[in-house]
Amino acid sequence: MSYYKQSVPPVRDSRLKIGDSYAGNACDLVNCGRDGCLLQKGRGFWQANACQMALTLMMATTVENSVIVMHAPGGCGALMHSLSAQAAKGKGVRGKTPAAIPWLSTNLTEADVIGGGERKLRETIEYADREFRPEIIFVVVTCAPSIIGDDAEEVARQARSRVSADVVSLHCPGFRSRVVASAYDTFYHGIMRGLDLQPIPRADFLPLVQGPQAEAAEKKYLFQKSRTVNVWNATSIGAQDEQEVERLLTALGLKVRFFAEYSSREELRQVSEAALNVSMCNVHDDYMLKYLAEKFAVPYVIAGMPIGFRHTREWLLQIARHFGMEKEAAALAGHEEKLAREAIAPFLERVKGKTVLLCGGVVRVGAEATTLAELGFNVLGIRAYHYDEGAEPVFSDVAENLADTPVAVSNQLFEMTHQIKSLKPDLVISHNGTQGYIAKLGVPAIQLFSTDGAFFAYNGIYQILRRIVFEFKNTSYRDRLSRHIRLPYKQSYFEGDAFKYIINNST
């Protein structure tokens, strides 16, 4: 049975070969991922992290005119307080109303855990609909109701006939996967099952009346559609990156639309009306793009992340190939590269030979590492938060270009701390959420991504280098801070192997 027909989506762990505990190099990692040895690995010591629910919420909060119903005990939604501010900002920069999304919690108590929480879920959905009149109600199903076996799907199904909003259920119990990236599949699964993804006659368009005018109009529409691409954004991709991608694809004569974040229900109904779906990250959206190919016969391109000259060129060419415009794309890339290379020349002199450690999302760290190496940095190590087979093309490229560079699959702060202390990089480029911890080590650092910044394509290269040079201009804050900080790790750990707690679960 297709995954798409299941009411509850599979976690990535059951769909792909995946892992989150590894230390070695890129070539071995790719092999370990292929033969499944990665699946066996775990740790004897863990530090807390996020879960798929957190990332699911980050995505859901961006959808316009929606309300989130947490089917959970009182704590699971707590991060909504900071998330909704972030999402409101993202809406603002995209020209949408920067309203914070309302949310409710079914607030499961001991009695509900014993007696079931379905009644409360139904009441909460109905209240949300009455009180806020949203277009979409996201029902977020967490660990507790998943363990007690609440049939949230049935409640959502029944609610659909009683409320005016569309009800989209998002199953994201944290215990089912340690891999946060599983959330992408969860979110897309909810969208594909809960919403219309094609235009509704008379709501979105007026059906044509037969005649020569209709024929011309249809031709025009089909031509436009044949030049329309959907580009799939997600969480780490900010408005400036969307603008840069749109600028480049528009230069190739394409019409660009971004999905699924910051889209409204009405906009999502246009998803099927495109010639091509374009991914910006191998591990974000393959689940959704394969579904759209199956359901609406819209082909897709998954060609890495447009970071750095080489990856951006490759990304553009693969899209262009679909439209028979490789020559134009190559010319565009050539022109853009020339301008950008001139612009970054003064920065390159200042960063030449600087040593760098990269930590964060698997595709981004891989693409960024090879990019920086090509620009003259000395990459001391790569730390990917997780690895799955979707990232194989990226890490095959890393294996080819940075064969001896240490590669770890780790989102663990203690291992990062050890690596920073032992490798002593000039610069750490790291995932949001780790910056405070790196500052306490006194090491210069920039964000691996930030939705307020630019990271993609030509503008991205310029801005990343500009930020690195900016960071090196004054490192006083972290120099001083680090002198007054006590780390929680015992000294003996730093005298041994950073990855001593990685174990094989099979043994």
Partner: protein, 398 residues
């Protein structure tokens, strides 16, 4: 029967426990749940509660068993034992507290049993039961401190006649908790007392260890920490005093006088000095305050700890006119009745419900020529009340 909550203002018992543990000196959490709980809950406070941050070993640094489907099906105590062992090896702390979450409680993991083996070896490990469905973050505060003081620390033998412990001010769910604790400590120190605040920078593990020898526990909440103080009194023989948080000079005078009486001290000199200093500042606000007509009708939206003290402050010291006082904690009837005072309180949590209640209690001018409404209005609430205030044309102090 409990109901759903719109935008809950606290999180779960585990969240409260982690905020407490993460703000105690040299106390290390070991979170027995899936990996997400620790990060999600810590970040909600680190970036949400006056940017409290993560500190020594909390947030993404907090040790966690990271249970997965395997443990949910087969039990998580082996994973827990392994995690405790490795945490003791890797993390430098003086007390390690295993806090559970909903999933490991639901599958019935014998957490206390796993921990008792380490205790038998003389390791400083304690287990507390903090599943989310047991209560909100305020409960988490009570549960952890109860574990430390009424179960982990040995019974007190000798009392320090000058030592006071401060309870009731729950960290992380009120951005000002550290400022309040520092000021209380400053005042009591001025009376000649020694103060354990536990949660402010400068406190060490010694403050926790010495707590049982205190001569008085002051609980600054009529609702939270009282049960803890009761059990503390039974175990260590330390009496407790439930006091309202002193806000403003009148309340502070009364607080100092009462504290001094309990220790047979004289507060008069301290009260005089404090008032001189306070009015030295306060006098200078008179020009702006009065020339700019900073007199308001007021609505307060606070937790149970702040409701009465803030209402008294704006009424007595600022001379404002209080219209509504909302308490956003989820309370039992007994807890609600503990909050009786001259200020009538309304117990509502949801943002929309509060906005609706204000509207119902105080009709707005709908174009009438003469209409006595509650303008100018000031809403003292959380950031969640920003839109409510804007819709009403009220000023807003988050």
């Amino acid at each position: 029967m409990s109901e759903f909550i719109e935008r809950p203002r606290t999180a779960c018992a585990l969240a409260g426990a982690l905020t407490v543990i993460g703000n105690l000196p040299d106390v290390i959490p070991i979170i027995h749940t899936s990996l997400g709980c620790g990060g999600n809950l810590a970040n909600s406070v680190a970036f949400g509660s006056g940017y409290l941050g993560s500190g020594y070993c909390n947030g993404s640094a907090a040790p966690s068993t990271g249970v997965t489907e395997t443990e949910i099906v087969f039990g998580g105590t082996d994973r827990l034992a392994e995690q405790i062992k490795n945490t003791l090896e890797l993390i430098d702390g003086k007390l390690y507290i295993v806090a559970t979450g909903c999933m490991t409680e639901m599958i019935g993991d014998d957490t206390a049993g796993a921990v008792s083996e380490f205790r038998a070896e003389g390791q400083p490990v304690l287990a507390v039961s903090t599943p989310s469905f047991k209560g909100d973050s305020y409960h988490g505060y009570d549960i952890v401190l109860d574990g430390i003081f009424n179960s982990y620390l040995p019974k007190s033998v000798e009392k320090n006649p000058k030592l006071v412990n401060i309870f009731g001010l729950v960290p992380g769910y009120d951005p000002f908790f550290r400022g309040d604790l520092e000021e209380i400590k400053r005042l009591l120190t001025a009376l000649g007392l020694e103060v354990n605040t536990f949660f402010t920078p400068g406190q060490t593990f010694e403050n926790l260890a010495s707590a049982p020898s205190a001569s008085l526990n002051i609980v600054f909440s009529r609702v939270w920490g009282g049960e803890l103080a009761e059990k503390f009194a039974e175990r260590h023989g330390t009496p407790y005093w439930i006091a309202d948080l002193p806000i403003g000079p009148a309340a502070t005078d009364a607080f100092l006088a009462e504290a001094a009486t309990r220790f047979n001290l004289d507060a008069e000199a301290v009260i005089e000095k404090e008032n001189n200093e306070f009015y030295g500042y306060f006098e200078r606000t008179a020009d702006a305050f009065c020339d700019q007509d900073l007199k308001f009708y007021a609505v307060t939206v606070t937790n149970s700890t702040y409701a009465i003290p803030v209402s008294r402050f704006i009424t007595q010291e600022l001379g404002w006119v209080l219209c509504d006082s909302f308490v956003t904690d989820n309370l039992t009837d007994a807890q609600k009745s503990a909050l009786q005072s001259e200020t009538p309180l309304q117990f509502v949590t949801g943002v929309q419900e509060i906005a609706r209640a204000i509207k119902q209690n105080h009709p707005q001018n709908r174009g009438q020529r003469y209409f006595d409404d509650i303008t100018p209005l000031y809403i003292i609430g959380s950031t969640l009340e920003k839109r409510t205030a804007a819709a009403r044309g009220a000023k807003h102090l988050p």
